[in-house]
Amino acid sequence: MNNIIVLPMIVPIITAIFLVFLRDSIKLQRIVSLVTMIFVTAVSVALLQLIQTEGILRLDFSGWAPPFGILFVADSFAVLLVLTASIVTAICLIYAFSTIGPRHERMFFYPFVLLLVAGVNGSFLTGDIFNLFVCFEVMLLASFALIALGGEKFQLREALKYVLINIVASWMFLLALAYLYGTIKTLNMAHISQRVAEVGQEPILTLVSLVFLIVFALKAGLLLFFWLPGSYSVPPTAVQALFAALLTKVGIYALFRTFTLMFPLNPEVTHTLIGVMAGLTIIAGCMGALAGQDVRTIATYNVVIGVGFILLALAIGTEQAMAGAVYYLIHDMLAKALLFLIIGTMVLLTGEIVVKNMSGLIRNYPLFGWLYFIVMCALVGIPPLSGFIGKVLIGQGAVETGSYVLLALGFGSSVIVLYSLLRIFLASFFGETSISEEEKKPIPRGAMVSFVLFALCIVGLGVGAEGIAVYVNDAAYTLVNPSVYVEAILNTHE
């Protein structure tokens, strides 16, 4: 029992409500929201330390002992993601300060961002699958509002499609929950795991797990990513970066929890299917990234490739691959946010979205150009940067289990990522500059600060991988041995 577990969700919600009353004092809104996110980051660091000393933490709301009540569970995997999500949001807020404009700020931009983070953190921390649905909805409603904020023609159009798809996915989630409750009469994730282990994973349970697979695949953009390129390219840049970093990752987290904790017993069906879907996702994402003409499309298809790559690790399923997946998830959240911020700033500076129409940006903005180079190297997996370790570990896991097809797909996708991003680098950053000195727009200082902070995080994660290895290995160990998690929740009979 530890009350600070609830802080990463409850503090953003309370400040979001508080900020609604500060609508006209934009300065105060900025300060409060940034301080909130820094506070949540500090709390998650403290939680991470606490888990190392005390094992998996849990908080039973109102003292209802599991499996009867709702609970929050903090294990290393969840808290690492909460920490990364909070850092990403804090830095994206710094970017938003100088770029989002007073019109958005007055229309409750900061409260919506905080509610989004509350939903994301809640989804990571919850130990009850119905509560996961509720946190998903909190997150999705905030994201609906953030996509539509601004009220442009194309924004409203894409927002409507995004909302409709997510509503249908949510009702499928409820459908799966109904069948799950009907079959094993419990919704506590640890208890489900125990019951499934007791009765064996019958065909009906495998079917339920497959419905969960469809739902979370829709949320994560695994194979069912048709909605993703449209809705990720319409909101303002800071929102795009938040979406790219957070939304699909929640779906990925849910998939990991579902298929390592709750339904791990029938891997011939479920894990094979996940492997096939991940492979197809990578192929389709690569085709989209190669065919894309405008920078935003290329960036969104890179999100799709990232999702496929992380889920390869779930299909492989060894401890090493899991550790790789945790590293890669953290890396992907940081790097994709930076990629989207830089791409959005490129569009802002030149007013163009097609790769070929931009040229010579590095002459006007040298630091900006080299930051793009860093994020490109990180996404491809060049050694000192953050993507490397995740790729190596997932690759090792693939070799261990002999899944050479997945290995080839995963590493082949790196080449495509390199090609698609290098195309932007060569065409848009090098060559004759199309912007003269007089009409050169300055990059806002806040935006530059956020780029540098993200770049520092990426380099730090790559160089300091040893430092977080303890936590990552702990997370991977818990993922591969779900009994640790179940023990921590259900041993209440003292």
Binding site: L141, A148, L156, L160, V163, I167, L175, Y181, G182
Partner: protein, 112 residues
Amino acid sequence: MESLMIILVGILVAIATYLILSRSVFRVIMGTAILSHAVHLLLLTVGGLKKGNVPIIGQADGAFTDALPQALILTAIVISFAVTAFLLVLAYRMYLTNGTDDLSQLGGKSDE
């Protein structure tokens, strides 16, 4: 009773699917609302439609009804209510700015 409920759920899902596949945005929203009701009924049904006492300790002995599906439905109804309200406002705004409520005319990016 359970079979009757399941058939009802099936009919509702069929109607909802028909509505969601239509072109007018308003019909699609009606479809999602009906779909949500169908799923709520399903949640109630799979919990088992038992007759029994209220689930309070010390009230009476014998069978009692499972309160959990009802708690779940209550939460789900609130969420679906919020989402439907948001969706209706969004669809209205979209109709005003895009000048159409026909989903087939809300296609790709080429028109900007």
